[in-house]
């Protein structure tokens, strides 16, 4: 049945066309022209479509290129920034090093300057001592000066510089023998150092006679040093009597502290 239907349709259609072709020659031409036109239009559309597609493709490619360029530029800028930061860091580091170097240099320079100033000051003090020796009609080569540190290093006993006496007594007590020996050894080892032995006494009675009593104490200590081999030029015994007390009380304790002889080295002053 179905097959019958399709057959009839084809007959109809064929018949129709046969009718048309049969109807006229011009009609066919027109149709051909039309078809050609249609074909041209179709081709034109296809061409246009192709052109459009091409343009779109090109646009996409251009955009892609621009995007790549942009990315490249950004990367470049990032790298440049990184470089700049790195360079800055290096420069900063160099500056710091330079600063430290300069600080160190300045510190060394300051040390050198201070050492030089100290040396100059010591020379000045030595020169002052030399002048004083000359003014005292003394040997100007006796300009050795010491520091407490130097004495301590040489022998801690050298820091013991006071020898105390009993009332109305002028003998050196046995306990002071090692101290006096230490001073004698130091003086023998340092022949340009000259010391003063300063005698003192308590403040009872005549101030002038007390000078003589203080002298007696200084003389005793001087004699002990000379006996141990210290050259005479290195020791001078003087007396301050009761004029330079270290204790002011009117009692036995104060008097005892003032009955003494002090060994005085020429010390560098700070």
């Amino acid at each position: 049945m179905k097959r019958l239907l399709i057959l009839s349709l084809v007959i109809v259609l064929t018949g129709c066309s046969a009718i048309g072709s049969r109807s006229s020659q011009s009609e066919a031409e027109r149709a051909a022209q039309e078809a050609a036109a249609q074909e041209a239009a179709r081709q034109e559309a296809a061409r246009q479509e192709a052109a459009r597609q091409e343009a779109a493709r090109q646009e996409a490619a251009r955009q892609e290129a621009a995007r790549r360029e942009e990315a490249r530029k950004q990367e470049e800028a990032r790298l440049a920034e990184e470089r700049r930061v790195e360079e800055e860091r290096i420069a900063e580091e160099q500056r710091r090093w330079e600063e430290m170097r300069k600080e160190e240099e300045a510190r060394l320079e300051e040390q050198r300057r201070q050492a030089e100033a100290r040396r100059q000051e010591e020379l000045r003090q030595i020169e002052e001592l030399r002048k004083q020796r000359m003014e005292d009609d003394d040997d100007p080569s006796l300009v050795g000066m010491v520091t407490e540190e130097q004495l301590r290093k040489a022998n801690p006993l050298l820091l013991e510089q006071s020898i105390y006496f009993d009332f109305d007594r002028y003998q050196i007590k046995a306990e002071y023998a090692p101290i006096i020996a230490a001073h004698a050894r130091f003086l023998i080892a340092h022949p340009t150092v000259k010391i003063f032995v300063e005698g003192n006494c308590d403040d009872r009675g005549s101030p002038e006679y007390n000078i003589a009593l203080g002298q007696r104490r200084a003389d005793v200590v001087q004699r002990a040093l000379l006996a141990l081999g210290v050259p005479k030029r290195q020791v001078e015994a003087v007396s301050y009597g009761a004029e330079r007390p270290i204790a002011y009380g009117a009692n036995e304790e104060s008097w005892a502290r003032n009955r003494r002889a002090d060994i005085a080295y020429p010390m560098f002053k700070n």
Binding site: S206, P207, E208, Y209, A212, Q215, A237, V238, S239, Y240
Partner: protein, 435 residues
Amino acid sequence: MNRDIRSLIAVCALLLASLSGVARGQVSVEVVGGEGSRIPIAVLSFHGDEQVKEEQRIGQIIAADLMRSSALRVVEASGLGAGVDDKVDHEYFASMGTAMVVIGKVSRKDGAFVARYALVDVARQERVIEETMTEPPSSVRFLAHRIADRVHEQLTGYPGAYATRICYVSREGHKSEILIADADGYDRQVLYKTDSPIMSPQWSPDGTQLAYVSFERQRPRIYVHDITKGTRKVVSKFRGTNSAPAWSPDGKKLAVTLSKDGGSQIYVIDSSGGSERRLSDSRSRDTEPSFSPDGRHILFTSDRGGSPQIYRLAVDGSGRAERLTFDGRYNTSPKYAADGEWFAYVRMEDGRFSIAAQNIGDGEVRYLTSGQDDRSPAFSPNGKAILYATEVKGRGALAAISIDGSTRWGIATHAHDIRGVAWGPYESYRVEVAR
């Protein structure tokens, strides 16, 4: 400033007065004897005194001076005044118990002070002195002191040493000051100030210089300080200690104690410095030389006999040292009096130091003071009084006592600790202290 000092002086004088009884201005006087032989004298207010400040009133200054004489007794007459030309009522003054009266008048002429005064003998109704004295305006006290000296000389045969100056060293901690003041303690002036000890000031015979020991260097040295110029010079700086200077009477030499040859020995040097000669030669401690007024002897302290005693030695080197003191185990600091007969010294007994005097000729000894710590005696230029350092309530003070022990007075000083005193010669008053 000056006013403060004055008021403090007044306070000190009051303190001293409360200790000793009688006071007059700067000086407090204590009379302990000799009343019977003293000449009674009244000093009336001078006409013109009422117009000036108290410390410039001539009558009062003269009375205060004469109170320090061991030969006079000042009769209280402070309320009385008279002009120099007024007639003295002899009966009235005789009834007051005075034998002599000083009257006067002070006026100003061309800025200067002019005093006309008279010393009237009450019994004989006679003007023993009648004269005029003139002084520049700064020296009104000097004018009064000169009148007192004249009156004293007229009555006793020797001037009173009122118009003179004294010198002393005041110490506080490490600071020393050399001060020069009038003999009554007024017009104190600082001659020299230092941060190191100074001791043993001694006045040159012409009054213009002081010798002293200074410890400004490690080695004690002797300086001569020109008072008028304010300059000073080292005159003794030998190795060791240089101490205890004493002027020769002609001012050309100084006897000094040196340790340069070991120990303490006495030498004579030029007072301008240099050229020394050894005087004492002992193995003992010899010091504290004092020249005799004729320059031929020195007295000094030596422990050659085992304890400090006073010896005498001829300066020309002839003869041996002669021991003069035998009483006690401590006799030091001899000072010749102007007459060369007496010497003052410090003696110690039971731990107390006091002033004594001894006659060289007959050996008579006078114990003059009874202090705990009296020292550094110095004679007045007339040889009749001894100035010395003492202690009052733990502070240094100055006092003086007549050689007969009858009259003692304190002198306000403001000193903390006194390290040596000197009494200048008569010439010392005219010397202008350099500023």
